[in-house]
């Protein structure tokens, strides 16, 4: 709409945002308070302390690294599997393409707990419990359907002349894909990659069900075990929470346009 409003609306907008983001402010506030007994927390961290972060890094640093490794691995696996599939679904007249698309949509309805329940046994037999590859494969189930859906939507928009021209020049199917299609799809790849990373980073269910020891423990599970016990040091819990939120904040700041595009296309395609 072109009806422009003035700074009055901006003020209201800031107020709405302040209410909605208060919990995140509170997380930051508590994380910067001196640790110790859980007395009522001041509204502003005047007595600035980084003890919480020191404890968090000491106790959860390894878990943060695990999360990072698992998330990066999930991005690689998801894009390797999803990108060619998205291309095939967008470009080729393969028999059964409709069925595959339908299955992808349907897969979104399958509760994670059902997947975990069945995978546990298989993982136990294959020795994939408590392993990074096991978590990567399971976490890719959040990323692959989503990545296929948004990349297919993007690839549909590439003019077929471009692809046909390459084919006429004698490029094979694979060469066309690697040399022409992939470079053109950078934005879609970035969007899919970012979201796959976030999904894997946020995963809690598979971390909870497919790991049984502290050997391989993503930070989400680390936080859960923190809050599961009696807590007398909330500043280090909140410091861990802040550290676990860093990827989301970084992505929003660095790649805001990709993120907004991803939310919109993920829901409507």
């Amino acid at each position: 709409m072109t009806r422009r409003r003035g700074w009055g609306s901006t003020l209201v907008g800031v107020l709405i945002l302040a209410v909605l983001l208060f919990p995140l402010y509170w997380m930051l506030n508590v994380s910067l308070q001196p640790s110790g007994s859980a007395v009522r927390t001041p509204w502003i961290p005047l007595d600035l302390s980084f003890d919480g972060y020191a404890t968090a890094l000491r106790e959860q640093g390894g878990n943060l690294v695990t999360s990072l490794v698992v998330s990066l691995g999930t991005v690689v696996v998801s894009l390797l599997i999803a990108t060619p599939a998205a291309y095939a679904l967008a470009r080729f007249r393969v028999r059964g393409a409709g069925v595959v698309l339908f299955a992808i949509l349907l897969s979104q309805m399958i509760p994670g707990i059902v997947v975990a329940n069945a995978l546990y046994d298989v993982y136990s037999d294959l020795g994939l419990l408590n392993s990074v590859p096991g978590l990567i494969l399971a976490d890719a189930s959040h990323g692959i359907p989503f990545a296929i859906i948004i990349m297919r939507a993007f690839l549909l928009a590439i003019p077929s002349e471009v692809i046909e021209a390459a084919r006429v020049d004698g490029a094979g199917q694979i060469r066309t894909f690697v040399a022409i299609v992939l470079p053109m799809s950078r934005n879609a790849l970035v969007t899919a990659g970012l979201f796959t990373f976030l999904f894997a980073w946020s995963d809690f269910l598979f971390a909870l069900t497919l790991t049984t020891t502290e050997q391989v423990r993503p930070v989400t599970l680390g936080i859960f075990t923190y809050i599961g016990t009696y807590i007398n040091d909330w500043s280090s819990v909140m410091a861990t929470a802040v550290l676990a939120s860093v990827p989301a904040v970084v992505l929003l700041v660095v790649a805001q346009r990709f993120v907004t595009a991803g939310v919109a296309s993920g829901a409507l395609k």
């Binding site: 709409m1 595959v100 046994d121 890719a140 269910l205 989400t220 809050i227 676990a244």
Partner: protein
């Protein structure tokens, strides 16, 4: 990652002919013919994804269905024996005291969450639809609660809602309210608190999608409506709402499908307690399998969840098709 993929080959590199130009092939078919090879290659693009879907979605659904009829416990992992027990698991699950509670909680949790998310999300979307300075920036910051891990939100809210030292009771105390409710520890309040937190999590998503839908309503329609005297609420009622409906359908059904299976936030806030006050079908399936190690009963509970989701899945597919055809997105 994407950098690497993007940089695999510079587009201006001359395309050397790698495949021999297709000779005039005989009748199509047979993988030896160029046409057959081509088709095989095309399938090759799709096969890894199909395999993945089969292993990580197809297999679990089938396996879960079977496990629902088996006595599947920790012993099964050692002996490999899972005797068939017919409908015993379902009988046990459905006749347990928790089942009714879990079913009701799931319905209340889903309905409450969706209603709250949608109404507040739509209100905020309409607000941001009017352009004003810094509107875009504020709108993107709004996404933050949705992007951080759910378990982080759970931990933060758990501390905010803490009975003795939480920010909410501290705030209420400052306002002069003497009462200090145990938001997450009282059986009558816990579910409401969990729903409220879930509404908070869902607002950004609803706002973003509905905002996109609002942007697609042509400006001319508002001008025409204004000429006919319809502005403000009446313009919304007669112009915005009918055109927004396909998007609304998608948001609502997608919301239901995702909310029904929510686990993270409930486990993080209350772990289903106190006294099952926030136990849902999903959390109960988790508890049966991974805390009591009665995987067969957990599977039965999971199957109940699938049936519920499936009903909404059908709704989703219908709504989605209508949105794709009607909304043109």
């Amino acid at each position: 990652m994407a950098e690497r993929a993007g940089g695999v080959a510079a587009p201006e590199r001359p395309l050397v002919s790698t495949a021999a130009p297709e000779p005039v092939s005989g009748p199509a078919g047979g993988w030896r013919s160029p046409r057959g090879r081509e088709r095989l290659l095309q399938l090759g693009f799709l096969v890894p994804a199909v395999l993945y879907l089969v292993v990580f979605f197809g297999y679990p659904v089938v396996q879960n269905l079977l496990m629902g009829f088996q006595e599947y416990t920790t012993r099964t992992f050692y002996t490999g024996e899972a005797p068939w027990v017919g409908l015993d698991n379902y009988a046990a699950v459905i006749s347990s005291n928790v089942f009714g509670t879990a079913l009701l909680n799931t319905a209340l949790f889903t309905a409450g969450s969706i209603a709250g998310q949608f109404v507040l999300g739509l209100a905020i979307a309409v607000f941001f639809h009017r352009r004003f300075p810094l509107g875009g920036l504020l709108r993107s910051l709004l996404l933050l609660p949705w992007l951080i891990p759910l378990i982080v939100s759970g931990a933060v809210w758990r501390w905010i809602l803490d009975q003795d030292n939480g920010a909410l009771n501290q705030f209420l105390g400052a306002l002069g309210v003497a009462d200090r409710p145990g938001w997450l520890t009282s059986t009558s309040l816990a579910l409401i608190a969990v729903i409220a937190v879930n509404i908070w999590i869902g607002i950004p998503f609803n706002t973003t999608i509905l905002y996109g839908g609002l942007q697609d309503v042509p400006e001319e329609l508002y001008e025409a409506a204004a000429l006919d005297g319809a502005t403000g609420w009446r313009a919304f009622r007669h112009v915005t709402w009918p055109l927004l409906r396909p998007v609304v359908a998608v948001v609502l059904v997608l919301g239901v499908v995702y909310t029904i299976k929510v686990l993270d936030i409930i486990l993080g806030l209350t772990d289903g307690g106190p006294a099952n006050a926030t136990q849902t079908v999903a959390t109960q399936a988790y508890h049966l399998s991974f805390q009591e190690f009665r995987f067969g009963e957990g599977a039965a509970m999971g199957n109940v969840l699938i049936v519920i989701s499936l009903v909404f899945a059908l709704l989703y597919l219908r709504a989605n098709r209508r949105a794709l055809v009607g909304g043109g997105r």
